[in-house]
């Protein structure tokens, strides 16, 4: 029994350390392409998946960048990471606000879909409908269908 536990500990340790190998964050090697770690190994994946589900892992927003393009329209990029072990689809809607904090009415203000791959970074961009836009609000919801 002791030997079995020791073997298990060793195996898990190897996966953990393999998964922690430092690499360029700009390149995401997907499951099945990169070396196995705890999250995607055939033995440990069900447990990790169950943990991920129980813990309710999902989307983390890491960064929001804004700038003005050459025509003077405000643009934004939202970057984040899907920590779940399955692809997450969600919808977002950007509402642009003028300098008085009033919402700018536009046909382009609709729910748009993003698909974030399991345990991968994602990003989406948006362009304001008017040069009057100085701020924004973003709502999200689970994608259906």
């Amino acid at each position: 029994m002791k030997k079995f536990l020791l073997m298990m500990f060793f195996t898990v340790s190897v996966f953990v350390f393999c998964g922690c190998t430092p690499s360029d964050k700009r390149v995401n090697a997907a499951v099945g392409v990169k070396s196995d770690n705890v999250a995607n190994n055939i033995l440990t994946r069900p447990f990790y998946g169950a943990y991920s589900l129980l813990a309710g892992e999902g989307i983390d927003i890491k960064d929001v960048k804004t700038w003005r393009n050459d025509a003077g329209f405000m643009e934004l990029q939202v970057s984040g990471r899907n920590r779940a072990v399955y692809t997450k689809q969600f919808e977002y809607r950007v509402e642009w606000l003028n300098d008085k904090g009033v919402r700018i009415e536009a046909q382009q203000t609709v729910w748009l879909r993003v698909s974030a791959k399991a345990m991968s970074d994602f990003s989406f961009t948006a362009t304001a409908p008017s040069k009057d836009a100085v701020d924004f609000k973003i709502n999200t919801r689970k994608a259906k269908g």
């Binding site: 393009n69 050459d70 046909q107 609709v110 362009t127 304001a128 040069k131 919801r141 269908g145």
Partner: protein, 203 residues
């Protein structure tokens, strides 16, 4: 006879009580349908508008506004679609953006033109024109020709996914052309794909 009349009234009353709900078009979380619905047009138009404003193609160097017309957007799907469902949203936001002015003098469809632009000129040149104050009539050579034209098509591709399911792909393609030079300033394709039972009809 009385019973029949009562039955008729009861049926009519029941039919009147069938539940009808208004669609919450702002936060609609309803099921997807195989055919194109308003959400698909919303998505395609939104992505087109944002791409156009991002591209800078409408940014006139002298600070002025381009005059834009909508040419022909072909419906190459199996559905009866009014392509204005796509283009009117784009026209609205582009006008509101302050980058362009739309023209109703020329256009690819009747709905893009205002027939009164020509009618008032016909009146001016006819005997009826004498009935009007000449100073209120449009002079010759006052119409402004469009600088840019928006054209494109919506294309549908039906595929068999497996025995029970089909895949329907809808391609929204738009192009922006400079009418003086013929140069294409911008173009974009938005793909909306749907998979569902063969029993559902996509037209």
């Amino acid at each position: 006879m009385k019973k029949l009349a009562m039955l008729f009234i009861a049926t009519a009353f029941m039919a009147g009580c069938e539940k009808v709900t208004k669609i919450d078009t702002t936060n609609d979380a309803g099921k997807q349908v195989m055919a194109l619905d308003y959400r698909d047009f919303d998505q395609a138009a939104s992505e087109m508008i944002q791409s156009l404003l991002h591209s800078g193609s409408l940014n006139r160097q002298d600070g002025g506004k381009y005059v834009l017309t909508t040419s022909v957007v072909t419906n190459d799907t199996m559905q009866r679609i009014d392509t204005d469902l796509l283009t009117s949203k784009i026209e609205e936001d582009l006008s509101s953006s302050g980058q362009v002015v739309m023209t109703s003098a020329v256009g690819g469809k009747d709905s893009n033109r205002d027939s009164m632009v020509n009618d008032i000129r016909d009146v001016r040149d006819s005997a009826k024109g004498d009935e009007f104050d000449r100073n209120t009539m449009p002079n010759k050579g006052t119409l402004i020709a469009p600088d840019l034209s928006l054209s494109g098509k919506i294309y549908q591709n039906n595929l068999r996914y497996d025995k029970k399911n089909q895949q329907v792909e809808y391609y929204f393609q738009l192009k922006l052309t400079d009418l003086k030079t013929g140069k294409r300033f911008w173009q974009k394709e938005v793909l909306i794909g749907k998979r569902g039972s063969n029993k559902t009809v996509a037209w």
